[in-house]
Assembly symmetry: C2
Homo-oligomer: 213 residues x 2
């Protein structure tokens, strides 16, 4: 058995760690390294080596006993598992400060994503050019998403508008949403949703802090 089926029911928490492993492998490659071990990876990431080995074993046998993992090979395997051995076109909704920062961000392309269209409902912003893209009105959303075969979108609008935008995105065929608005949105089960809320992280940390002032 060279390769286990990847259609098995892998725990979602394991999937969530794969991008972290991928990040570490990118760095190791940049350091011109050729091999690494579960121990070294765990050391760098603050994760136990046993967990890393077990996580990877869900998808196949990528290492060699006594030697460890070939970095380039493992990186490529994880990229295939996560389907980022290609470039996903993305839509950004909201051209405020955050939306603009997302369009400008150079970190997407090297890791498998590219912003291909930006939308806003503010007439003052429509037509504005950001990093080579033109801000489009919401009325163009459905057609643009279809034209660019967009399956992934990011929501960068005020929280009052987030649910409505999410609904429109789903109707336009988007299957994965990264929501920056601090609100839990309601979408069909078939649509993937992830959240980024910096304040939630900050509040998580202040629990452990003693105010100085």
């Amino acid at each position: 058995m060279i390769r286990m089926g990847n259609s098995k029911n892998i725990p979602d928490i394991v999937i969530g760690r794969l991008p972290i492993y991928l990040r570490a492998l990118n760095l190791l490659l940049a350091e011109q390294r050729e091999y690494t071990s579960s121990h070294e990876l765990g050391e760098r990431l603050g994760i136990s080596s046993a967990q890393i080995r077990k996580d990877l074993s869900h998808f196949g046998e990528f290492g060699k006993q006594g030697t460890g993992y070939n970095i380039a090979y493992l990186q490529e395997q994880i990229r295939q598992i996560l389907h980022v051995d290609r470039e996903w076109p993305m839509a950004v909704v909201g051209a405020g400060d955050l939306g603009r920062a997302l369009v400008h961000y150079r970190g997407f392309v090297p890791r498998g994503f590219r912003v291909v269209c930006v939308f806003d409902n503010d007439p003052a912003r429509i037509g504005e050019r950001i990093a080579g893209l033109t801000v489009q009105p919401m009325s163009e959303l459905a057609s643009q998403i279809a034209a660019h075969r967009v399956q992934v979108a990011m929501i960068a609008v005020p929280l009052e508008a987030a649910q409505e935008v999410a609904t429109q995105l789903v109707e336009a065929g988007v299957e994965a949403i990264l929501n920056y608005a601090p609100i839990t949105i309601s979408v069909p089960d078939s649509v993937q949703v992830q959240y980024i809320d910096p304040v939630a992280h900050l509040q998580h940390m202040t629990y452990y802090l003693t105010p100085k002032t």
Copy 2:
């Protein structure tokens, strides 16, 4: 026994959900609602009602049988638990697109945080004014953080610089770091660290997607 001690060893994962509950309570308050139930909260957040009740029970008894939770009261209790019944001054390191977006962000103050200083090492950016703040050189970091009693910082620099910045922040006395650079940083155990990596979230979702093109 009216109130349980909060010095007990509460699971970290429970702490991580409290900000989400707080978010939902803010919304309910904005809707002029007075009472809610664990069932309603769970409905809105996609969490089981039992989990919400059990999470809250770690800290005391905040609800009333038959009635549910008084929204304003529960909100205030959670704010106290998380220590956000005050305003935490924050430092931002990195005045690129992301750093600027963070300084402009209006969502911090209503939830207990305020950016009070911004740093960068690029001479072209130093002196620039962002939302009323002046970008300062890294050489000012230690003194400014001391002067403003800053305990919380956000790292918004390229990944190559992130570890060095983290080290400087810790030396300056920062106790909690929200790191936007896609790299696991090394700090003393006494320092809280949280990560925001949009690409990791995106890659997590594409695992479940079938490429269209």
